[in-house]
Subunit: 628 residues, 2 copies
């Protein structure tokens, strides 16, 4: 059940200058701000650069660090660097002076804040030298980079009829400033965006594009506030929804830019907090957001008690299974035979028994007699199943088979074969191989539940998950098996929130059960899928989903357009590209995807052929073999 929880967003007060830092901190507290964002340079001090030993007494560029304790520097001050500096000036002496200055500021900021925040501002796309020095140089804490949501210059121009050119407009979109900066800085993980709201609200597409970026702070300037009937400052509906959308995706912080003399500071701050604190439903998946996990391999590894417990607690999955079994029983057993005819149900991969329970429930609700065989290979789950048989389930109705379903020769064939072998990408837990092996247990006219599974992908940009994957030394389970350290050629399960979906998902591979297509059955697949970019953007991988038809119209889905309500067992898949690809609006993205089967493993391979040609990822399963 959804419960409610309180959130407490932090708001920092942006000051153009701080003459007396201690006093400014006190004032900020009074207006409910937890910190101040101030230039690291004290305007009162001179700037001077001397190469040789410095002996002049008065040369000093900023305050002493002893003004605050190190924990105050860390928690209550965001140090701003590079105010009014142009590191990309065409004039050599200006650029050199700016370089010296910002290096001094960067060094002193790192001296002060440790793992805390630094702050700088991006004002144009031409920021190569700035990115080299600040973006590549930052190594400690978090560097916030302020970027406006829309380009103030373009906003002015849009009022003038004589200015034209949508192309220029996209080129000068501040997202491009950030993309240039980030790309030069090799997506340095310590750099985050401080996105500044503007009076103009861009198209929803452009906002979606920002949702893939590493936003940590929303900067709210006072001049976007309106005044309500009671003379209090409020935000427009559009700005309100923007603020909420960003907070829900990023749990971000806020920085308020206002004139301290304005008199309304506390009202702005309280308004922002009020807006965010409006109760959110607590998500049961909270805490998993954008956290990359290595997919389970339940065929190769035995699941443990905690993993079983998590999956058994899905609020809807087993209800759907029960409905599917009920429907299948009713379809197979004429009304007059329900008292006499015993339907054989085989649960293949029984785990600790949730599907057996669904089958027994279905028998009870339909009045159809059943005998259930439950086949399970994990000896630890057998203990639980045995206990159920001895203590709970009706004598003689359930028979336990402790073996691998692919090797079992049944004493009688099944009317209904029930399984739940699907992963986030459908067939990635090897349901085709398992069910092909088990289908000899099924009568010629028998029913497989599920009877079909389909995988889907779409191109995406996901900065947080991608950066985690990129910095992995090796897969989590590397100790247990022979796996190369090619962690960029592996799929990951992730609950993606910080993501931009570049195009809608398209179908990839379909598997049907029972499979009567060919003999021997061939589960190799190769498919080419095309997408299109509707905006300039970056792509660093694919999001994968699946849906499965249990029986007739009873479907479980994590496809975003058809997602089964409250279904919690599966997050989506993230499939990385080794190198991010810069896309232009209108670019066609052609992706090739293979599913490959060998005697002891299955794996996927993938690559792009347009708009750029990439190497084939995970050749021969070198990064991510799935063991049979």
């Amino acid at each position: 059940m959804a419960t409610e929880h309180k959130v407490n967003p932090s708001v920092s007060l942006y000051l153009n200058a701080a003459c007396d830092l201690v006093a400014e901190l006190e004032n900020a507290s009074k207006v409910n701000c937890s910190s101040v964002t101030v230039p690291i340079v004290h305007w009162n001090y001179e700037r001077e650069f001397v190469r040789e030993p410095l002996r002049s007494k008065h040369v000093q560029f900023t305050r002493s660090d002893l003004l605050l304790s190190s924990s105050q520097w860390l928690n209550r001050v965001i140090c701003r660097i590079g105010d009014n500096l142009d590191l990309d000036s065409p004039i050599d002496c200006i650029r050199r002076q700016a370089e010296r200055t910002i290096r001094q500021e960067l060094s002193f900021a790192e001296h002060l804040v440790q793992n805390g925040y630094m702050y700088t501002r991006l004002t144009k796309r031409d920021c190569t030298n700035f990115a080299r020095i600040v973006g590549c140089g930052a190594t400690k804490g978090t560097l916030l980079v302020e970027v406006p949501l829309t380009n103030p210059k373009l906003t002015q121009n849009s009022w003038r009829r004589d200015m034209d050119g949508e192309a220029d407009e996209e080129e000068d979109n501040p997202w491009h400033w950030w993309n240039t900066f980030r790309t030069h800085a090799d997506s340095n993980a310590v750099i985050k965006v401080a996105l500044e709201l503007t009076a103009d609200v861009p198209k929803q597409d452009e906002i979606y594009r920002w949702l893939g970026e590493p936003i940590d702070v929303i900067v709210v300037p006072a001049n976007i506030f309106l005044t309500n009937a009671k003379n209090y400052p409020v935000l427009s509906k559009a700005h309100q929804s923007l603020l909420k959308q960003f907070y829900q995706t990023f749990c971000c912080h806020f920085i308020l830019k206002a004139n301290p003399a304005d008199g309304h500071i506390a009202h702005y701050v309280d308004y922002i907090k009020h807006l965010i604190q409006q109760r959110f439903a607590k998500d049961p998946t909270q805490g998993y957001e954008d956290y990359a996990q290595t997919p389970l391999q339940p065929l190769y590894d035995n699941l443990d008690a905690m993993t079983y417990e998590v999956f058994e607690n899905d609020p809807v999955k087993y209800i759907f299974y029960q409905n599917a079994i009920e429907q299948a029983l009713l379809d197979r057993v004429p009304k007059e035979e329900r008292d006499t005819k015993v339907s054989i149900i085989m649960v293949v991969g029984g785990g600790r028994g949730p599907l057996v329970r669904a089958a027994l429930n279905a028998s009870q609700t339909t009045g159809c007699k059943v005998k259930v065989y439950v086949i399970e290979k994990n000896p630890n789950a057998i203990v639980t199943l045995r206990a159920h048989i001895n203590e709970v389930w009706q004598e003689g109705m359930v028979e336990l088979i402790s073996t691998d379903m692919r090797e079992f020769n049944p004493p009688e064939k099944a009317d209904i074969l029930v399984s739940e072998l699907l992963g986030s990408f459908g067939d990635n837990e090897l349901s085709p191989e398992c069910l092909d092996g088990a289908q000899k247990q099924l009568k010629e006219d028998g029913i497989s539940i599920p009877c079909q599974s389909t995988s889907y992908i779409n191109p995406c940009f996901a900065s947080k998950v991608y950066n985690q994957v990129r910095t992995l030394e090796r897969p989590a389970q590397a100790k247990d098996r022979v796996i190369s350290s090619r962690h960029m050629e592996q799929m990951y399960v992730a609950y993606q929130k910080n993501v931009y979906h570049i195009d809608d998902p398209r179908e990839l591979f379909v598997f049907v059960h029972p499979n009567k297509d060919s003999d021997p059955i061939d589960n190799n697949r190769y498919r080419t899928v095309r997408f299109r970019a509707s905006l300039d953007c970056v792509m660093n991988g694919f999001t994968g989903y699946f849906d499965t038809v249990l029986y007739k119209d009873i479907v479980l889905s994590i496809h975003p357009f058809t997602h089964t309500k409250a279904l919690a067992s599966w997050f989506s898949m993230f499939i990385p590209l080794t190198d991010p690809v810069q896309l232009k609006k209108g670019d066609e993205i052609t992706v090739h995807f293979w599913r490959c089967v060998a005697s002891h493993k299955v794996w996927y391979e993938w690559c792009l052929s347009t708009p750029v040609v990439t190497h084939v990822h995970n050749i021969d399963g070198r990064g991510h073999p799935i063991w049979l």
Copy 2:
């Protein structure tokens, strides 16, 4: 100031069997036990091994995992495996049956407890096959291995005059059981000791040997309790002090072995808690215990504000410095010249000014006039020093020189040169190289404070720090510099508590300042030091210390026999050996240590020549160069 804090040790109740686990958990709660330690096998169930599909209904070896939630299994149950099994039996069929049984138990225990506890018991030194299967096989959670503190068989024999042989006695010491087990299991980090107290208390030497081992639990059997005058159970003074000593070193948990029908269970538990809860003085270094850190390189890296703050807060260091400067001033300036003669003090490596403050204080208390030059290379610390000069220190008394002390040509020479360039191993922050470079600033008869530093080492066994070092992928600062991943050939700073010191420390290298011995000065050193093992034991490295003479009899020391009271700036050094060395009582340990100097770096090399010959560690500084 030392403050007091409450501790709350957890006690688990050891049960020979648990018929009804839920009821036993409730009973345990009633007697203040947070968990129970029970066999994973339910005595009620049969054991049977079947290779082929298991179809017989009643074959079941233990309870169902659904009896408790997974968080209860994790937090409230310690699963015991291998009760009454002999995996090293010479009789094949007994051994094979034991192997099958324990693999089943191990698998089911890992199924249940995830990151929690499993428990097994060591009963003899001949445990090779047991170690292979249980010790090497355990990969999840923590495996507690019960070992008695003394050998119950030897205790019996000691009462019989006809039994003799001290050699046998040492051979059969349970520490050897554990050492054999641990060595076979390659010191698997998930394995910890559950040390069971016995009625006999061994010699202090043997207890010290246990202090280096990974003890996580102390097992207290009820039969070691005495009864006091009020008929309550109490422990002897010797057992009390043992319990406290182990708790102070390990913050361990407790397991109580008692007959549930005894009626005194709650008294035993409360007594143990009471003993431990007697207030401990809170250690300012708490939280740093046995945590390996890469040593600072303040000459190469600029320290940051937080690091300066930590060191400036040492409660005694700067008082000692002030005393030393006072004494030196009084010795150099005759009483009649104190109003007129100005002594030149040079603080080399001034940081944010604590030594300047000590010098100014010394001037004030002695009435000697001084002029202080402060030389500092870190531009961020210069900001602080400049602020002090402008705002706090008396006009004209302090002159700031922003440069490297090795390059500074002073306008006048110093009477006293003050520095604090020492690391945990004395010269490891390159004080000899820095002070040799700075001593040209000193008058012919000038004084260096400090005037001497000496390093010391002793052989040791430290399981926790060693295991951390062993599992390091690469040094923490590898990103910043070209360092190989030879992390076993690097020194680490660590506050060692979980350590056994095999012999007393001996002197290694001495440096004197100013150094007038040779020209050019040679800071290379080579020294051979010998130690002796007083017990069979294992050695996995050296602990390093230093002391320094500031002036005459004013000394700072972290040598354990002369440690300056309350001095907090330095922990000891841990210097690992790539492979642990098994030592026999009486073995001579010969260690060779080099200090090597090249144009851009300094490094140490080390090796053993007896009782075994090891490779030379850190050749050419490949694992741990210290940059000049």
